[in-house]
């Protein structure tokens, strides 16, 4: 590397003028340029497979408040439908979505392999919880939502002392005809949980569960309704759904399992060749920022940042023991586990 006078001078200047301020100023400058370019696009389209439509709308509103002149057209469906629509758009050569987000990280692997994603590291990523920050597919996506799978119980029927504290507690015969959970054949979140349980406790865990005649629904959230109805009393849930229902006064209590809660990091990414590439970058950056995490915690979802505290009664990601099966492992194991699940539970 050649040392030039100009190089030395600017290096000295940088040191002198504050080595920290200069990159920050440059970053702010970059953001301002990005905003200018994005404003010309005026609109960013987001296909979401997570959160729900009202929360997506809240995100859209907060984004437009921060970046006037750019609206967000958010459409929440299920991850499978969002991905199928995206693929059909791509095949038709007419990209609609600028940003695509899914509870199934395998969708991103597929899109990366097809060279359909834009690499981008947003400035706000620096403030994310480390485990969230490092989940980025080599720069192709960011985590925009964390699904947290935990235990929960109906406190009208089960006392705190008696409640299951850790995953293996569920296999206690006293829970015969009392357990409810979802199916990995219909729910991505239950799929990740299935891989996690098989990895930690082996397939025998499910065989033991099956002897207790569990009630198996489709979505992970079906168990919340089943427990509230009193038909079953312990189950496996997405912590946010159970906490939201409990916040209304329902007799549901979330137990974060002592050995680990199961985390499913769900990615968001920018689609290559989309109509608003700059606004898409701004939205991805916004999703890594504090305003977005605040919207999440307002809705009892997990905060992605250490500077945004968790909702009342919930634990922050930093205080939890998390386990997430690797993406490679999920992709390798899940199809086989789904098939075994069909044979064992007939569903």
């Amino acid at each position: 590397m050649q040392i030039t006078r100009r190089g030395v001078t600017s290096g000295m200047l940088a040191l002198g003028a504050g080595a920290i301020a200069a990159p920050a100023a440059r970053a702010a400058d970059d953001q301002a340029k990005l905003y200018e370019a994005a404003k010309k696009e005026g609109k960013v389209t987001w296909y979401s497979g997570y959160l729900n439509q009202p929360i997506c709308e809240a995100v859209a509103k907060a984004f437009t408040a921060k970046y006037p002149g750019i609206s967000v057209a958010a459409t929440k469906t299920t991850s499978q439908v969002a991905f199928q629509r995206l693929m059909q758009d791509l095949n038709a050569g007419s990209v609609q979505a600028d940003v695509f987000s899914s509870t199934d990280a395998a969708h991103m692997t597929d899109l990366i392999a097809k060279d359909k994603l834009v690499k981008y590291t947003p400035p706000n990523a620096a403030g994310l919880v480390p485990s969230i920050r490092d989940f980025n597919g080599g720069g192709y996506y960011r985590a925009g939502w964390v699904g947290l799978v935990t235990l929960f119980y109906n406190s009208k029927q089960v006392s705190a002392a008696d409640s299951p504290k850790d995953w293996p507690d569920l296999t206690d015969p006293k829970w015969k005809n009392k357990i409810a959970f979802g199916s990995p054949n219909y729910s991505g979140l239950v799929g990740v949980w299935t891989v996690g349980m098989a990895e930690k406790y082996g397939w025998g865990f499910f065989e033991k569960l099956n002897k207790l005649n569990p009630l198996i629904g489709r979505s992970i959230d079906d168990a919340v309704a089943v427990l509230n109805s009193g038909e079953r009393s312990v189950g496996i849930c997405s912590a946010a759904t159970a906490l939201r229902s409990a916040a209304k006064g329902n007799p549901l209590v979330v137990n974060y399992p002592t050995s680990f809660s199961l985390a499913d990091l769900s990615p968001a990414a920018i689609i290559k060749g989309s109509p608003s590439p700059n606004a898409a970058k701004l939205l991805i950056d916004f999703m890594a920022g504090p305003e977005y995490s605040k919207i999440l915690t307002d809705n009892y979802e997990q905060s992605l940042r250490s500077d945004v505290p968790p909702p009342k009664g919930a634990k922050s990601l930093a205080d939890l023991t998390l386990f997430q099966p690797t993406l490679e492992n999920i992709e390798k194991e899940l199809p086989g586990l789904r098939s075994k699940w069909r044979d064992l539970f007939n569903g």
Partner: protein, 569 residues
Amino acid sequence: MSAAHAPPFSVRRRRLQPATVVFGLAVVVLVFLIAAPVARLLVASFQATGTGGFTLHNYAVAWGRERNVAAVGNSLLYALEVTILSAVFAVPIAWGISRTNMPCKGLIRALIIGAFITPSYLGAVGWILLGGPNAGWLNKVWMALTGSSEGFMNIYSFGGLVLVTALYAFPYIFVFTSAALDLVSSEMEEAASILGAGWWRTIRRITLPLVLPAIIGGAIIVFLDTVALFGTPAIIALPSRIPVMTLVLWQFFETPIRAEAAAAYAIPLIVITLAMFSMQRLVLGRKGYVALTGKGGTRTLTPLGRYRWLVLGYALFVVGLAVILPYAALAQAAFSRAWGLGMSWANFTLENFAAVLLEATSRDTILRTFGYSAAAACAAVVLALVIAYIVTRRMVRDRGLLTLLCMAPLVIPGIVLGVAFYATYAPPPIALYGTAAILIIGYTTRFLPVAYVNAAAGVRSLNPEMEDAVRILGGGRLRALAQVVVPLLKTNLVGSWLLVFIPAARELSTALFLVSGQTRVISVMMLDLSENGSFETLAALGFVLLAATIAIVLLGYKLVGRDFMLRRS
């Protein structure tokens, strides 16, 4: 939409008449609406995932597993039992309302059609609250009364699945049968009675045979609709460990997505539609079912004496199972802050209703859904009537093909049809991404079969001589259609309209593919609410839909006016 695709009828200008244009247009619209997406599905079923090359692999994936084949068997048995139970529920009540002096008719009819709007998710959860083996209300009452340690019913069973499905499907047969019974003149029944036949023999030999095409039409719709149903099986069949076809189908959309295999699994279901029609032809044969001859037919109500309370009792029993009991159970959620706490004054609130009715986004969603469904219902009724007329009056060749086209969309499960609709209508050249039109077209197509079957049964009951009279007097086919057929089939058409409007308002699987943030509909909102754990709001929404539908039905029948055949005593 169809103007751009105007048919090349100029080549046949020498016999171009207004009627020909209208009928030709209807056929073109049909091709656009149905043939295009179905053809796309058919092609996709032979395409390799990713590359698009020709393959038979999808069929091997879809049908190569014993489990998948067995699921279709389960679905057929399920649909058959639902159809039979629906007919048992529907036909006696339809007879009671149409032909007897049973009391409380308007209310019963409104409640039955109200039951129809109940989203399958809500109806199923209502029945879990009633018939759950551990905590179901009915089981608790049973245990308290008999001292038994176990309940008498388990909703998580094949029988439970059939019951819950039939309770929300029987209105199809009810509306079809009522419409037909309304058109049967009493003269034939009176003749039978003069010749010494008792009332039971009269029903068996005269009334029932005359409305048989309508009952069979309704039964076919219930059968096909049940085969393609996902909602109730997802809540009841899955936990009961009963694999049915739609449950298998949804698994093709989990990663790795195999939409092509899903198409290969769904396409052969069209054969079921064909089988239904062969069966219909076999049963109905070449017999005539002309009920309305225009010769001053009138209808008198059979006085039932004390037995009218028996008929009312049966109607209340069915309506009780479909509406009163499950909604009583759901009230626990709709009027509670937290439904898991059970009913108490401290827990009572109207906030859930406020959330549904007063918040702009949810109110807009409800109004929008009703708007889309109403538009689809109008389109489907007009199209169905024209096509049914063409087919029934044998105005074209290839009537079988036309009928099959009209019927195919119902048996193909919504999720697969949604994929095909999206692929056909969303991208250029049609480019309906995110518009209201794509949803309206989707609904029209999906529920055209219902309107078609009902319209066909109606036209079949009309004596063509009445239309011939118009033509002899110099009127055209269109005039005959507009001034004879439509007025005579008034109640039939209202029935068709409701039978498209209501399922469209609750349709989820197709809508999921076609909505955008700006065109969100009730069913998608309900999915959000259920995944959000907001069951209280969801239940309140169910009550609002029930009330709105009952109001629409009462108003609708009032607008249609007095039944012209009913002889006032």
